[in-house]
């Protein structure tokens, strides 16, 4: 492991993080979107993955159609990024209240080796009840990551075991399966909620 000294100068550090998020936004949703068009998830109607949910039921992209969807990738052995994302999402859902029942909210694991149906069921049980967990074989999960244009890599950890680096944004789709936007990792609620509302409004627009 490389030796690294970490210097933090309060405001400067926060500025750097904000800049990183800003760049992420620019490439995904902003004026840079065209250049990154290949990196966006496919429309759900063009996806072909097959997975199993945390209750053992078969699921696929068509499971998500008809309601707006909030999809993110992670793994239950993740100590930081995933609990943070899940607790952020739980707060957004609490904030939406009744409206949250009009959303599909799914965690797709990038670690099918350890995330069995049972492991996922226990894990999602600690967060908002609307949150579902999907897993599958390694090949099935690979297909899902290709459909969503998600990147992930297995990293050995000091002291044994491994962790997964993975795309940490939350993908938003409208009820027709069109990709609407991405909520970046740990994005503040005041930015996240309007994005969710927008994905849900597309649904209303389609219905009328």
């Amino acid at each position: 492991m490389q030796r690294r000294r970490f210097l933090i100068y309060g405001v400067a550090g926060i500025g750097a993080i904000a800049a990183t998020l800003g760049i992420g936004w620019w490439q995904v949703d902003g004026p840079g979107a065209d250049a990154q068009v290949g990196k966006r998830p496919l429309p759900l109607s063009e996806m072909s993955f097959r997975l199993t949910d945390h209750e053992g039921k078969p699921v696929g992209p068509q499971t998500l159609l008809g309601r707006a969807s909030l999809i993110f990738f992670g793994f239950t052995y993740c100590p930081e990024v995933c609990p943070t994302t899940l607790s952020d999402i739980s707060v957004w859902l609490d904030w939406l209240g009744e409206e949250a029942t009009d959303l599909n909210v799914v965690l797709i694991t990038v670690d099918p080796e350890r995330d069995t149906v049972e492991a996922l069921a226990e894990y999602v049980g600690y967060f908002h009840p609307a949150i579902r967990g999907w897993t599958g074989t390694t090949l099935q999960v690979d297909q899902a990551t290709r459909d969503f244009r998600v990147r992930y890599e297995k990293m050995p950890m000091e002291g044994g075991g491994y962790t997964m680096n993975h795309t940490s944004g939350v993908f938003l789709f409208d009820a027709d399966g069109r990709h609407v936007s991405i909520i970046d990792y740990h994005e503040p609620r005041e930015f996240a909620l309007p994005k969710i509302r927008r994905a849900m409004d597309e649904e209303t627009k389609g219905a009328t």
Binding site: F6, G10, P79, S87, Y123, Y152
Partner: protein, 152 residues
């Protein structure tokens, strides 16, 4: 009363040392908290703020706790592709007069090789070591797995 030359020197060094080097005694730890774990096979995470009230930078060089065999400082960073990864920090410098926050989404304490499950409502003791040989012990409360901060 006679004092040996060696003892005099030692005494001089002892009394001279604190003002010459700012150190661990200038650090105040606040808002420590952690998340409950499922069993012991997954690593745990803990957070806190470190305030350096002194005039010199202070460097955290080590951590220890009977809860985990390998507690370490990690930084989560997200690259321009949107991929998040954690980096191990062997040292963490707290500049003079500054506060370094370990909080969800960035710096955190990663508790590897848990020796017992982290149970909501309990707490564990953590010792933070500094480069000047000082160390401080903190009691870290364990909150629920969906907790977002030291208090709601």
């Amino acid at each position: 009363m006679r004092i040996s030359a060696g003892a005099t020197l030692a005494l001089a060094l002892l009394t001279a040392a604190p003002p010459a080097f700012a150190g661990g005694e200038d650090v105040v730890v606040e808002d420590a908290w952690s998340r409950a774990s499922i069993g012991t096979s997954r690593p745990g995470a803990a957070y806190m703020t470190l305030r350096n009230t002194g005039d010199e930078p202070v460097v955290v060089t080590g951590l220890s706790t009977d809860l985990a065999m390998m507690p370490m400082i990690h930084a989560t960073a997200t690259d321009e592709q949107g991929v998040s990864r954690m980096t191990h920090m062997e040292e963490l410098e707290i500049p003079a007069g500054e506060v370094v926050a370990l909080a969800p989404g960035g710096l955190h304490l990663m508790l590897m090789d848990l020796q017992r499950p982290m149970v909501e409502g309990e707490s564990f003791s953590l010792t933070v070591d500094f480069s000047d040989g000082e160390s401080i012990s903190v009691e870290v409360p364990i909150r629920g797995m969906a907790a977002r901060g030291p208090a709601d």
